[in-house]
């Protein structure tokens, strides 16, 4: 038996939208089988994971809050992936962004440095520093690739661990709260250094707006600008891109900077929004989950908005499942992995017709 992949003559919109949905359904079925093998009821798990979080106001807000970093990171990643550059290190860029922005939050603790002009500049500066931190960190694998031809997949991934350990050291050392009873965490930022909530007493913070704006801008850039055209062309046909006069080295650096900046912005939004201080673990793996979001959203900013909500659901449902069904928290990660596999298979299936040829020897 032989498996043949025949290119499909044309991609249709129905296929483009249908494939991720089929992938999601398939992943739910596989996930259900795993849960059943763990001795729990798959239907109950489905309810806890995917239905219950949608029924209550607070969990819907939580959904948007969790989706926010995923959207920001995945929109950035879509620039890299469309250009056929594989930035796997968004998690690290998220952390360095959170760190650099958070550093300003620590410095300005207790109304320091406010002087005569007040504290209005602190939060915007933190956001900018966050983006710069992520961008600079993403520039490392990009430069290594352009100068030395090093695989950005490996370098960006390994830099994640460097960033994680760096954060760990800082919050146990220089950034530690001197009055924090030796807990590994920084001071809690002043209110003026925190992202405002959109409504009194609610969970939605202003980062959600940033995520929406980022997705809309990206959609516009891809659809209308020469830069978006350049990114798509380099990914699609690198030789034609050179013929078009586009510089692939410059583009490599640019898309990594964009991707890193958005991941860093997501990091500082999380630190200045949800958490309010630096701790050894500021991300439950958003940088990696965003890779799945980017592909489930078919690298389109609008698709990413939808996909981020789906993946955010797995986080919230996963927490509920730990409590209600005593399912391990790793189940969430496992489900995300299954979903990524299904999405990739569906992606192949939209581009190629898969034929099993029985009896035809290779």
């Amino acid at each position: 038996m032989r498996i043949d992949l025949e290119p499909r003559p044309a991609r249709t919109l129905a296929l483009d939208i249908g494939a991720p949905i089929v992938a999601l359904v398939a992943a739910i079925i596989f996930g259900g089988i795993v849960i059943w093998l763990l001795g729990k009821s798959p239907t109950l798990a489905f309810e806890v994971y995917f239905i219950n979080p949608l029924l209550e106001g607070w969990s819907l807000q939580e959904l948007a809050v969790k989706a926010c970093p995923l959207v920001l990171i995945a929109v950035g990643l879509s620039f890299c992936y469309r250009a056929n550059l594989w930035n796997i290190g968004a998690e690290g860029q998220f952390i360095t962004g959170g760190l650099l922005g958070g550093w300003l939050g620590i410095l300005t603790h207790n109304e320091a440095y406010q002087g005569l002009i007040g504290g209005w500049w602190i939060l915007p500066s933190m956001l900018v520093l966050g983006a710069i931190g992520g961008a600079l960190y993403a520039l490392i694998p990009a430069l290594l690739r352009v100068w030395l031809g090093a695989s950005e997949i490996l370098t960006s991934l390994m830099l994640v661990y460097v960033a994680e350990l760096g954060l760990d050291w800082l919050v146990r050392g220089p950034f530690k709260d001197p009055e924090g009873f030796n807990f590994p965490q920084s001071v809690v930022f002043d209110d003026i250094a925190r992202l405002p909530f959109l409504a009194e007493g609610e969970r939605l913070h202003a980062g959600v707006l940033l995520a929406l704006i980022a997705a809309l801008i990206a959609a516009f850039v891809f659809a209308r600008s020469l830069f978006g055209f350049e990114v798509r062309l380099i990914g699609e046909a690198p030789r034609a891109a050179r013929f078009a006069g586009f510089d692939d080295r410059k583009l490599t650096l640019t898309v990594f900077v964009i991707s890193g900046a958005l991941a860093g912005l997501a990091g500082i939004c999380e630190v200045a929004g949800q958490i309010g201080q630096l701790t050894p673990k500021i991300s439950p793996g958003y940088g990696f989950t965003a890779i799945i979001v980017a592909f489930l959203g078919r690298l389109s900013p609008v698709g990413i908005l939808v996909a981020a909500l789906v993946l955010a659901l797995t986080y919230i449902g996963g927490e509920a499942a730990q409590v209600e069904l005593s399912l391990p928290s790793d189940m969430t990660r496992a489900f995300q992995g299954i979903l990524l596999m299904c999405v990739l298979v569906a992606d192949i299936a939209t581009r190629y017709r898969i034929r099993l040829r029985l009896g035809a020897a290779a």
């Binding site: 003559p9 044309a10 209308r224 600008s225 020469l226 830069f227 055209f229 798509r232 062309l233 699609e236 046909a237 030789r239 034609a240 050179r242 013929f243 078009a244 006069g245 510089d247 040829r357 009896g359 035809a360 020897a361």
Partner: protein, 515 residues
């Protein structure tokens, strides 16, 4: 006795009522033909006439929707190429199905039947290559080979399987006249051995030289068959397109003006270890002139094209001048702004991006020169209008409003790519292999467009392996061999044989350059 005679009379291959539909589209409609042992059978027709589909059916790559395939009178169902090869069918593809990262020998080993011993394979490849005069190093990796060299692999690997019926899809498009002549001798020998040939070509002279039967396809139907030796190239072409082909109209006298494109002492080491270094290349092309560069594929033409277009920059800024202005270190966009335009050899993935719409492909090469961009945004409305103009002027046949480039046939995509550049009214056009794998009607359109462009005062540099084409439209011809360029000769004062000798490096200058 009668039975045996009938067996003998049964053709090697016969097709009866072959129909192939793709959805609502009928690519082959009731095609029947017979090929006998020792017969050279030509299959001619325009691009999109259904030749490739029919050939794929014979080679087991596609299953017919209806109809019967019989070998020696026995109907068979071909489940795959393996089954076709078991019936003795061998194929030399036009589009090479080779693995870039494997060597020549490994690529050949992959397609041999399972039990073929691999020891000594390299020697056998060398032997076949030598016998048919096709220089081929079994240890080279395919990614480093030119189109011409890749085709030699296809021919060699087909011959190694000792086929009864050999399908050749445009096999001479990358050979010198001498090499083509050697190939024909080989093919004659194969015929004498009783092997049959199914020969697909747009070069009707070759068909007349080689084949005793021709089947003509048009729009998926068989529109006739004839003995090509009894026909003229012109009458064959008329059968093929269903109407008479116009001659290229050249202006009686051309007013050659000042030098528009000047290359002086351009030397450039190849980026690719297997590539060809350019060695002291000089030429000049004047207003209104078409300057031809002949040569066998892989002798530095693609490197030269890249240096002229600015996809690779020269060492010295003065090595290349456009209208006397040095541009050797300017990039391709800079050169376009100076009035130059370029058409690379490879349509798919170089001149055009397959998954991009035609409008997108218009933006690809023209974004910097026709005011399509303001504040970083693309004026798609304007791009669509200009694309429509290219499509209308060059009669590009397409399906749908603004389809992806890869849905166009080779000839139509080439007309689009050439038209896109010509409608920019370039002062200098550098064009590489403009009619490779393009049907006769499209090729005539493209050549006429080049002649007209030169008549309007542009300098045209035409790199081609098709000597007929060069002699038809060029004013002067030079030959590129191993990265060196011969002295240019007036096209009217030089014979095909002289050019052919230069192409193999045996010309007077070839020996002068000898180490």
């Amino acid at each position: 006795m009668i039975n045996e005679r009938e067996m003998h009379a049964a053709p090697l291959l016969s097709l009866r009522g072959i129909v192939k539909r793709f959805g609502s589209f009928t690519a082959n409609d009731q095609i029947s033909l017979d090929i006998h042992e020792g017969e050279a059978h030509a299959l001619i027709g325009e691009n999109g006439a259904g030749k490739s589909t029919l050939v794929k059916i014979i080679y087991g790559l596609l299953e017919p929707t209806e109809g019967v395939i019989a070998f020696h009178g026995q109907p068979v169902r071909l489940a795959g190429p393996e089954a076709a090869r078991a019936q003795g069918v061998g194929m030399v593809f036009q589009h090479f199905s080779l693995f870039d990262n494997l060597t020549v020998a490994e690529n050949i080993a992959l397609v041999l039947p399972r039990k073929t011993p691999l020891s000594g394979l390299r020697d056998r490849i060398a032997e076949v290559a030598d016998r048919y005069r096709m220089p081929l190093d079994p240890d080279r990796e395919v990614w480093s080979l030119s189109a011409g060299e890749r085709q030699r692999i296809e021919i060699a690997r087909c011959l190694l399987q000792d086929p009864r019926l050999i399908i050749l899809d445009e096999p001479t498009s990358v050979l010198t006249p001498q090499e083509a002549y050697a190939l024909f001798e080989t093919l004659d020998r194969l015929k004498d051995e009783g092997r049959a040939l199914l020969y697909i070509s747009h070069k009707l002279e070759e068909v007349r030289r080689l084949c005793e039967t021709a089947t003509i396809l048009r729009l998926g139907r068989k529109v006739g068959s004839c003995d090509p030796r009894q026909e003229s190239s012109r009458s064959l072409a008329a059968l093929m397109v269903g109407s008479a082909i116009c001659d290229i109209r050249s202006p009686a006298t051309r007013d050659l003006g000042s030098e528009r494109l000047t290359v002086s002492h351009l030397s450039l080491a190849s980026e690719d270890i297997h590539g060809v270094d350019l060695d002291d290349v000089s030429l000049s092309v004047r207003c209104g002139e078409i300057f031809g560069i002949a040569g066998v594929a892989g002798n530095g033409q693609s490197e030269f094209f890249a240096a002229l277009s600015g996809e690779r920059l020269a060492q010295s800024h003065e090595a290349i001048r456009l209208d006397r202005l040095a541009v050797g270190k300017s990039d391709i966009t800079e050169r376009r702004k100076r009035g130059a335009a370029f058409v690379p050899e490879e349509r798919n993935g170089h001149a055009a991006a397959g998954d991009f719409s035609l409008t997108g492909n218009f933006v690809l090469s023209r974004h910097a020169t026709v005011g399509l961009i303001s504040r970083g945004l693309i004026h798609f409305g304007k791009a669509r209008a200009l694309t429509a103009e290219v499509i209308a002027t060059f009669d590009v046949r397409k399906a749908g409003e603004d389809p992806a480039a890869r849905t166009l046939s080779g000839g139509n995509l080439q007309k689009f790519v050439v038209g896109r550049e010509i409608l920019s009214e370039p002062k200098i056009l550098v064009i590489n292999q403009p009619t490779w794998g393009v049907d006769a009607a499209a090729a005539a359109t493209i050549r006429q467009a080049l002649v007209d462009l030169a008549a309007r005062g542009a300098a045209v540099l035409l790199i081609s392996q098709d000597l007929d084409e060069l002699f038809e439209i060029c004013d002067r011809i030079a030959v590129m061999h191993e990265g060196r360029l011969s002295k240019a000769r007036e096209a009217r004062g030089v014979t095909r044989e002289e050019i052919g000798l230069l192409m193999t490096g045996d010309g007077p200058e070839g020996s002068a350059h000898a180490h």
